[in-house]
Amino acid sequence: MPWGDGTGFAKNWETMGLAWHNSSGTALGEDKMAKIYNHLVSIDQDELGMIYNSHNIRENSFLEIAEGAGVPQGWSFPSYWESTDDPTQFGKLRSLGSTSFEFNNLKDWQSEKWVAEGGKFEIDENTGYAYFSTDTLGVDDTFRFYRTDIEELIRAGGVMSEYSPFVELALDFKGNNLEDYYLIWKTKEGGDEWFSVAHNFVATTSNEAFSNYTDRCYLEMYFAENWDKQVITSIGLEFRPKEDEILNIRSGQIDYIRCQYDTRQSNPTYQWILSLYNYVRYTNDIEALKRLMPKARKALLFLTHALEGEKGLLDISYLYGHNGIGMYKKENGRYNFDTINGVGNGYWDLTVSSEKCLEANIYFYQALCAMADLEQRLIDAKVEISEKSIVRNRMPGGENVEYKFTVKSLNNLASIVKLNMQKEIKPVQNEDGGYDNLGGFWNSTTGRFASGINEETGAIADYGYVYWNLEAICAGIGTDEQQLSIMQWIDGQRTVAGDTSTGDDIYFYEFAPRFNTKDAYENLSPFAYATCNPFVEDCGTSFSKQVQNGGAVIAWTYYDIVARAKVLGADNAYARLQKIQTWYEKVQAAGGEGYEFYSAYYDTLAEETNKKTWGIFIKDKTAYGRYDLQQAETTGAGAIGLDAEFIESITFIKAIPDAFLGMETIGHNAISFKNNMPTELSLLQLNNLKFGDCVYNVRASANLLQIIVEKIEENGSIDGKVTIKFAEPSTDYKVYINEVETTDYVVENGEISVTVDFGNVCIKVK
């Protein structure tokens, strides 16, 4: 059952789809909230505070190349196997800039190519491990194993360290008197000189349990002296004894020494903070918050310290290769791409992320607001946490950093981030010849937020990123004028010069707007190349053939409806909802079931398009691939994200309570609703929502909003407040609580607000 089991990259959206209604107990077959909680507790966190994308489990030593579970601390690509022309050709001359040393059953890795000094080292092709040990050393003697023929393996004459800012290791051993083990290497520039760095100096999570060591660890090699921007000609490990001691290593086994990209992202960390927030705000589980807050505080420090969000905008340049440099067209007309640049940083993993990028800052801002709320909940619940949250300095060897934020300082920083984001984008050339964005993200030329800049050319990355602009509005980012300008563009009320898609075509996919409105092929990251190439060769563009370039994903219709309700009004949002309904009914009428539920409809559309075009023997290049569903494990990449891996599709259903019932939580044990019913809809009722221990319904009509308690969990209680709001009528009115007229209400900023104990209550304004 995928729900509750999702990995970190979409945990915010997963919990947005689950936490506010009855997902616990057996209502959904199994307790989804228990699974969410287990994930929150168990997911790994490194010493910088960064939350891993998935659990740091060991791979099977016999996995085929390119079949690994990705990199737990980061994302699946770029991966070490993308450093070669052919992923099956590791260790051969076909390798481009890097390679990996996998002690599995590949024939290339014969033991004689590895040298051991001071002990034994032997590869066993039957088990997929190399085994090592030593028990013959004298005082202060070291044990090492290494490989020296790397220059023969790789075109570049060795591992180009820019393709390997990280070295990943998976090994086990039992050691006595070990000071630490070191990565050792030679460089082309250094000749025969060995360089080394202690594993615990550069490991993102240190491990000194040498008596029975087992780890899958990640070494930030770009911080090691004599590694960055070098050609590595030899590599190995060295085990060094404590001073005046005799080293002993037993039962050593190693799976790989993997020269790896830096695929860490800011994304899983704020996704985790927001999923904790989503969990706590609807469960009111203060014990869970008490347990997880030290972890949350460290997670925030990853964003504020390591990624320097404390300076007013999140900057991901700490992560190697995370810049806005994507593909570019060479003079011969071919596209150039290089996996060392433009590493993705979020859900949209083909799209380059600028050092200061819009998506990351939208979520950094929300993470700050969420943390302020969570801190306030602890205060309100009179819960104190004595455990200090301390993380490692962003620079190895620097002083540790302790969490000292308060509700006030978190809110202050959030305000600064928001204001900075709303500033005009401002690329300025720096002394190195590259560019920095010294402004925010607003592009007054197009009247919308840009993603960031290309740090090499200074070009503004504004490809009409609809989804990020909608997310910004829903997060409360943007002045009223900015938000209106964005919605007028997306709604087709105005056209942006140079856009590929305008007006009604923005909703070509019916269920949601396009991800972007301007062909972004030229600025897609290198990793998009293989995916997009067939379309580019055939059509000259990948626009509308890829979810990340003109395609659409239904989860984001949540943001569209909520942003419309906020900026253009509930009736506008409702009209869009009805169009989605029309689309869904057409899908149902197509008769698809199971895996084919959506594809039956889109196969028909594609077939009809082909009939029209192929009938006269002219291929309609613009239609080719337009209706392909993306289903990673079956048909692969596509333009439409609805099912298969898009489990976050369920986020859409939260648009109903958020857009039309104004559902919000407002601190410990407090929830609020604002009646924002569309004119056309007389009555709306949502059944089986969840707040604390209470399963309840909420009903709304034009002048009514009612809470109906369905049941209270066994051994649970109703404990909390509910605030119900209405827009203040322009004519005379009276307020009623359970049919009794009342004056116990507040009018502020054009809103009537009634706060009562959470329970069966009906508020009317008439």
């Binding site: 999702g6 079949e67 009914e585 891996e645």
Partner: protein, 77 residues
Amino acid sequence: MKKLYKKIIPLTLAIATLMGTACSKKAKIEVYDGYELHYQATDGDLANFLNNFAHRNLRYDDYSAGKFAVGRRYGLC
């Protein structure tokens, strides 16, 4: 366990919803756990749409909404 919405819903809403449902020609997912998220509206077709979509996605495996082993190697590409 089926929940008796009739106990808590005013007659007008129940009738309106039932009328909307009865008029709908779209296929419905009939099996609801009594305590699963459920929409009702005077526009019965809208409620059917929302319930169908929600249920299909919330009971992802039951309705084979997709083949995907979460956490596998694939990215979004």
